[in-house]
Symmetry: C2
Subunit: 152 residues, 2 copies
C-alpha cells in the first residue's frame, strides 16, 4: 500500500542515540586504521570486541562473553583466532579446572596500547575543536552516565 504521492516523513533532529553513534564510529575507525598501519593488519573489527577496553587479560572466556553481550561460543571463536594470530593465549585456570584464563602476549599488549593511543589521538583533536574545558566536561558527563548505565 504505497502512498501515492508518497507521504512525507522526516525524523526530527538527532536524538542522543544518533549523537553518540557518529563519534563512536570515528573512534573505532581510527583504532583500526592505526592498528593496520602499525602492522597489525590481520585484525578485523570483530577482534576489537576482545582487545578493547577493559581487555581480556587475565579474564575468563565466560566473563568476556558476559561483558560483551555475545555468547560464549562466539567469544571462543574469536579467542581461537586471536590465539592463532599470536595475540593471546588461553591457559588453564589453577583455581577451577573447568575454566581457563586469557593472557595477552606482548604483541597483544602492543595492540591494546595502540588502541589507547588511537583514542587519545582523537580526544586531542576533539579537545582542539571543542576546547579543553568542554571536552573535559563531556568526559565527566559520560563517566557519570557510565556509572548510571552499568546498572543495566
Amino acid at each position: 500500500m504505497p502512498p501515492d504521492p508518497p507521504q512525507p516523513f522526516e525524523f526530527g533532529p538527532p536524538l542522543i542515540g544518533a549523537l553518540l553513534r557518529r563519534p563512536l564510529e570515528v573512534v573505532q575507525a581510527r583504532m583500526l586504521a592505526r592498528l593496520h598501519e602499525r602492522g597489525f593488519d590481520d585484525l578485523v573489527p570483530a577482534h576489537l570486541v576482545i582487545m578493547r577496553h577493559p581487555g581480556a587479560h587475565d579474564r575468563r572466556p565466560g566473563e568476556i562473553a558476559a561483558g560483551s553481550g555475545q555468547s560464549k561460543q562466539a567469544i571462543n571463536y574469536l579467542l581461537g583466532e586471536l590465539e592463532r594470530l599470536g595475540y593471546l593465549e588461553r591457559r588453564a585456570d589453577p583455581d577451577d579446572r573447568r575454566s581457563k584464563r586469557v593472557y595477552l602476549t606482548p604483541r597483544g599488549i602492543e595492540v591494546g596500547m595502540t588502541m589507547r593511543e588511537a583514542v587519545a589521538e582523537v580526544e586531542r583533536e576533539w579537545a582542539e575543536a571543542l576546547g579543553d574545558d568542554d571536552l573535559e566536561q563531556l568526559r565527566a558527563l559520560l563517566r557519570r552516565l557510565a556509572a548510571i548505565v552499568r546498572a543495566d
Copy 2:
C-alpha cells in the same frame, strides 16, 4: 612466548571510546526491545541501519550506503528484506531512470516513531539520574561534536 608468570597488564581508566560505547548499546537495546514488544518482532539489529536516524525515506539506496559506511550490495540486501517484510518500498526515481528511491510504508513510519520514542524514554531516565541541566549539557556537547565529526 607466554609470560610465565603472566605479565600483568591493565588498561587504565576508560577513554572516550569506551565511554561512548556503553550508553549507545543501552539505547540500541532499548530500541529493539520496544520494537519487538510492539509487534515489530521480525526486525533484527541489522535492519536498524536502515530504519534509524536519519532514515531511508525518500533517499536512494546508494545514498544510504554511503551514509552508513556499508556497500551498496549490503544495503540492497537489507532493503530487499525490509521491503519483503512490508516496511518500505523501492520505486523508480523520476529524475534518473538508473536510480530508485526508498519510501517507508505506514508500518515503516511506525517503526521510525517507535525507535524515537524508545530513545526519548532512555533520555528521560538519564535526565532523572543526571539532572535535566546536565543531560542538556551533554546533548549540547554531543551536538557540537557531531558538527566537528561530520567533516570526516
